[in-house]
């Protein structure tokens, strides 16, 4: 397929989609076997929007691509969606999420051992917000539930994939010996 046409098709699909579209999904719709060709076209499109100094950007998040507004124009977008209040996660929720992100699949007992406090309420909220999911059961007495992060987790934090968060070794504790 001609390069320009392929890029335009991808532009349409990304414009219309309300969630990130993966390379494989794009390949399936456009019916092109060669994923490299698609990846190249999406990256071209992404660069084009950057160079154009547009209000929109093509973001590479949650293992896919999505059209999003630029951060600097958030005030105007927020005015349009007056009713939408931005919610932020509480410190316990963020703490629990970070433990799950690094240790997944992980049980509630394991999370609570690290945090030192009861975590059942936080887990319920995170499940409701679809930031975590039940990924299975551990082969232990009582078959405890295992938790893991979701695509929505990646999307919410603007991460391409889990490798984008720094490894635990990279994190420098502020006070240490």
């Amino acid at each position: 397929m001609e390069k320009g046409k392929l890029k335009n098709i991808i532009e349409c699909l990304l414009f219309f989609s309300d969630k990130p579209l993966g390379i494989d999904k794009l390949a399936e719709i456009i019916e092109i076997e060669n994923c490299d060709e698609i990846r190249e076209a999406v990256e071209d499109l992404k660069k084009e929007y950057e160079l154009r100094n547009s209000g929109l950007q093509v973001l590479n998040i949650a293992q896919g691509y999505q059209f999003c507004t630029r951060s600097e124009f958030s005030n105007w977008v927020r005015k349009l969606y007056k009713s939408q209040t931005t919610f932020h996660l509480s410190p316990p929720a963020l703490e629990t999420l970070s433990i799950i992100a690094y240790k997944q699949p992980v049980t509630r007992a394991e999370i609570e051992k690290i945090r030192g406090v009861d975590t059942s309420y936080v887990l319920r909220t995170l499940l409701q917000k679809k930031l975590i999911r039940i990924s299975g059961r551990k082969k232990l007495p009582g078959r405890p539930i295992l938790y893991g992060t979701t695509q929505e987790f990646l999307r919410y934090f603007g991460l391409r994939d889990l490798s984008e968060i720094p490894s635990l070794e990279e994190i420098k504790p502020p006070v240490s010996g």
Binding site: F15, F16, S17, D18, K19, Q57, L59, Q66, F67, C68, T69, R70, S71, S74, V77, T86, H88, L89, P91, P92, L94, E95, L97, S98, I99, A101, Y102, I114, R115, G116, V117, D118, Y156, F157, G158, L159, I165, P166, L168, I171, K172, P173, P174, V175, S176, G177
Partner: protein, 238 residues
């Protein structure tokens, strides 16, 4: 009046301990356990005095601290000569280090959240299948039916006497649902030219809902209605 204030400042005992370590610029691997224990217990007393509702875990940690303190006071137990006696604080230090790392990781996530919350993607336009979760009430169905009748009235002119049986309509509605998970409410009535036919079809639908062979669902109150087929297994049971 007896009221409790939920303690939000410190999420848990480890949080409080880290706060005390930072405040006093202590070394995590060489915590002066007697000092920190008395500091910690002072906080617990303060919580009590302020009538703060604190988690039981705070007391568990207090007893751990006291336990470590008492072990520090005892002479090290006789062990194999060359083996260095284990520091009773080692486990606590390791736990604090680990917890601290995750707190840092949480801060990284918080920064990302702040950035991401200013970036907007398109909102979903077409309600997905899973959005149809509200059970439509009889009144919703009546409203929807009335809209169908009003629309049909413009087309219906002739009154033809015909014999329609509700059983036949039930069978036809079910056949519409064959090989499909759902159909739109309006679809059931499309192509029906007489008021009588519309009414009998509506009654057939109500009967199917009563028999729990189909479900009427909406994505939002007063929204469009979809008719879902009950799973085959369920029908077989009833």
């Amino acid at each position: 009046m007896d009221y409790k204030v939920k303690l939000e400042v410190f999420e848990g005992p480890l949080d409080l301990l880290l706060h005390l370590i930072k405040k006093n610029e202590l070394d995590i691997f060489n915590i002066p356990i007697a000092e920190i224990t008395s500091d910690y217990l002072n906080y617990i007393k303060l919580f009590r005095r302020l009538n703060l509702d604190f988690a039981g875990e705070f007391l568990v940690a207090a007893s751990t601290l006291i336990h470590i303190k008492s072990r520090m006071l005892l002479p090290p137990t006789e062990t194999v000569e060359e083996e260095e006696p284990e520091d009773p604080r080692a486990e606590l230090a390791a736990r604090l280090m680990e917890y601290q790392k995750f707190k840092e990781a949480a801060d990284i996530l918080r920064e990302r959240e702040a950035i991401q919350s200013t970036i907007y993607g398109r909102l979903p336009i077409i309600p997905g299948d899973e959005d149809y979760t509200i059970e439509a009430t009889l009144f919703d169905l009546l409203d929807a039916f009335q809209r169908v009748v009003v629309q049909a009235e413009e087309e219906v002119r002739e009154i033809i006497q015909e014999d329609i049986r509700i059983e036949d309509r039930i069978r036809e509605v079910l056949s519409l649902l064959e090989n499909r998970r759902f159909i739109n409410f309006e679809t059931i009535f499309s192509g029906q030219t007489t008021k009588r036919l519309l009414i009998v079809t509506f009654l057939a639908l109500l009967e199917l809902i009563r028999l729990r062979m189909v479900f009427a669902r909406q994505a939002r109150p007063f929204g469009a209605i979809r008719i879902y087929r009950t799973k085959q297994e369920l029908v077989a049971q009833t």
